[in-house]
């Protein structure tokens, strides 16, 4: 009996057997584990304070008791940016501020997400012909969600956050 087993276990069949075992394990553990990790991430996105210009007023109103973005887990972490994983770029970024914005993004730990809020962060907005304004932040940061408006209402911002949550749910948990 053993002799037949010894003849059957060749490198090719062992390879095929381990491959099939790996597929079963992936289906059994990795998918639910990935789902659990993503669930933890999307219900506790902590944003960094990048309150540039006008749109910061509507972000502040979104954290106020009426629109209450805290029920989605987005607490304005008043501490350091090493604990945050979401950058909401609120408003106009000027040429003086651009290298500092990149530094802030580099200092955050992975995984991190970027929301561009307001017309000025998307394309330069109302200030397209100014000498000191960057035409959109696409050139320096990889943006996940664009929220249009000048300034966007707090409900629009909350819809943008929910879109980001859908995106994270469908991502592979890195």
């Amino acid at each position: 009996m053993l002799k037949e087993l010894e003849l059957a276990v060749t490198p090719q069949t062992a390879n095929a057997f381990l491959g099939k075992l790996g597929d079963i394990l992936v289906k059994a553990i990795d998918k639910p584990l990935g789902y659990a990790i993503n669930w933890g991430r999307l219900w506790s996105l902590w944003p960094v304070h990048i309150e540039t210009a006008c749109c910061s007023v509507e972000f502040g109103a979104a954290s106020s008791p009426r629109y209450d973005v805290e029920r989605f887990g987005i607490i304005e972490a008043f501490g350091s940016l090493r604990q945050c994983d979401l950058v909401v770029v609120q408003g106009t970024i000027t040429r003086k501020m651009a290298p500092r914005l990149r530094l802030v993004y580099d200092q955050m730990p992975e995984p991190k997400y970027v929301i561009a809020m307001g017309a000025c962060a998307i394309t330069g907005g109302l200030y397209f012909d100014s000498y000191n304004v960057l035409p959109g932040i696409d050139g320096i940061l990889p943006v996940d969600v664009y929220v249009p408006g000048c300034p966007p209402r707090p409900e629009t911002l909350i819809q943008g956050c929910i879109l980001l949550q859908e995106k994270i749910k469908n991502m592979k948990a890195r």
Binding site: V48, H49, I50, E51, T52, A53, C54, S56, V57, E58, G60, A61, S63, S64, P65, R66, E76, F78, G79, S80, L81, G91, T92, T94, K96, M97, P99, R100, L101, L103, V104, L126, Y127, D129, S130, Y131, N132, V133, C150, P151, R153
Partner: protein
């Protein structure tokens, strides 16, 4: 150092006792402004403010747009106080073009101006709470502010950037039952504001953090050219609404609040007292307003002024805001300069922070009623 540092960034240097620190443009407070601070242990030795991170070039862009298309631009420096920053511009353009505004429009302007004062000052108080780490002081004003924004929404159609004042009056009239709704909400706001006294201004923690820090004497306040609540907290009774009244304020009764000590506690109390005064002004204006009439004078297309210049000023939430317009017979202004309260109060920062402890710096910095976007224009 293996990584290349972009130009203009400051490294931390230890030079015997004095250390140079960077209270960087991104900080857990609000707005982008950098302070380069030199400390000796716990005490600040020198401070160098570095504004300009939100400098968008408003004045240059105003020269390429005519008097009407400049309106959405010029209201963006302070979007929640947008009526007050447009007010001197609109008064100046009316003087250049020789337009006379109807009576009802003047009173509607006064009501919009006072509601904007609520919206600005309550947000400023909320951010003061973030600076001091008092989260109730963020939630209560931010929630009560929505009442004032509801009224502005009914009047103008927008929550924050109203674009309501135009040369010749206001854009549209008040809706039908505005007066009853307004009086009800203003009464409720007044009740809420009086409740702030227990939680905020009689709170022993807030008092110990802000009393006797950053004291500005009366002579210094005048010599440094400060304005607004910083000036009135140091004992100088100056408010543009009473000293050089404009529009409907010539008939309204405004009482200015003055405190004597000049420390951060007084500077944080004056805007709250001003808000209580605003409630009275709104009720007076609703009574004295003419009950019917037009609110807008129609202009010819592409209006031009002559070879003239004008300087007008108005009391906004931060202090006296002046606009200087030079016109040379074209539809666009030749030069437009905004003289804003935040920029004029910035000179107090290096003066007041010398000798302060580093922990008192947030309390002093935000009590100067400083809005970074406005100071950079």
């Amino acid at each position: 150092m293996s990584v290349k540092i972009p130009p203009g960034l400051q490294l931390e240097k230890v030079d015997e006792r004095i250390m140079t620190l960077n209270v960087g443009p991104q900080h857990p407070g609000s707005g982008h402004m950098r302070l380069i601070v030199q400390v000796d242990g716990d005490y600040i030795v020198a401070c160098d403010p570095d504004p300009g991170y939100v400098h968008r070039g408003e004045e240059k862009m105003a020269e390429y747009r005519n008097y009407i298309t400049n309106i959405p631009h010029l209201e963006r420096p302070v979007i929640h106080d947008s009526c007050n920053i447009l007010y001197p511009y609109v008064l100046g353009v009316e003087e250049l073009l020789g337009i006379e505004v109807p009576e009802r429009a003047k009173y509607v302007r006064a009501i919009a101006s006072e509601l904007n004062r609520f919206s600005y000052t309550l947000y400023w108080l909320a951010i003061y709470g973030i600076f001091l780490g008092h989260s109730t002081m963020f939630m209560w004003p931010a929630g009560d502010r929505e009442l004032a924004i509801d009224l502005l929404d009914k009047m103008t159609g927008a929550r924050v950037t109203h674009a309501y004042f135009v040369p010749g009056g206001v854009r549209n009239d008040l809706p039908a039952n505005f007066e009853d709704v307004c009086i009800r909400q203003v009464n409720y706001l007044e009740k809420r504001l009086k409740a702030y006294a227990d939680i905020f201004y009689d709170n022993p923690i807030l008092i110990s953090r802000t009393k006797d820090t950053g004291v500005l004497s009366r002579e210094d306040a005048i010599r440094l050219g400060t304005t607004g609540s910083v000036l009135r907290a140091s004992g100088v009774d100056f408010d543009v609404r009473t000293k050089e009244p404009y529009d409907a304020y010539e008939e309204l009764d405004v009482h200015t609040n003055v405190l004597k000590n000049g420390d951060s506690y007084d500077r944080s109390k004056i805007p709250w007292l001003d808000m209580l005064e605003s409630c009275n002004i709104i009720k007076q204006a609703l009574e004295k307003m003419p009950k019917s009439g037009s609110v807008r004078v129609k202009l010819k297309p592409n209006p031009k002024g002559g070879d003239d210049e004008v300087y007008k000023r108005v009391e906004s939430g931060r202090g006296s805001l002046g606009v200087y317009i030079v016109s040379r017979s074209k539809p666009e202004p030749y030069r437009l300069k905004l003289s804003v309260g935040s920029f004029r109060n910035l000179i107090c920062l290096p003066y007041l922070l010398k000798g302060e402890k580093l922990g008192n710096m947030p309390a002093v910095y935000w009590s100067l009623n400083y809005w970074p976007v406005e100071a950079d224009r």
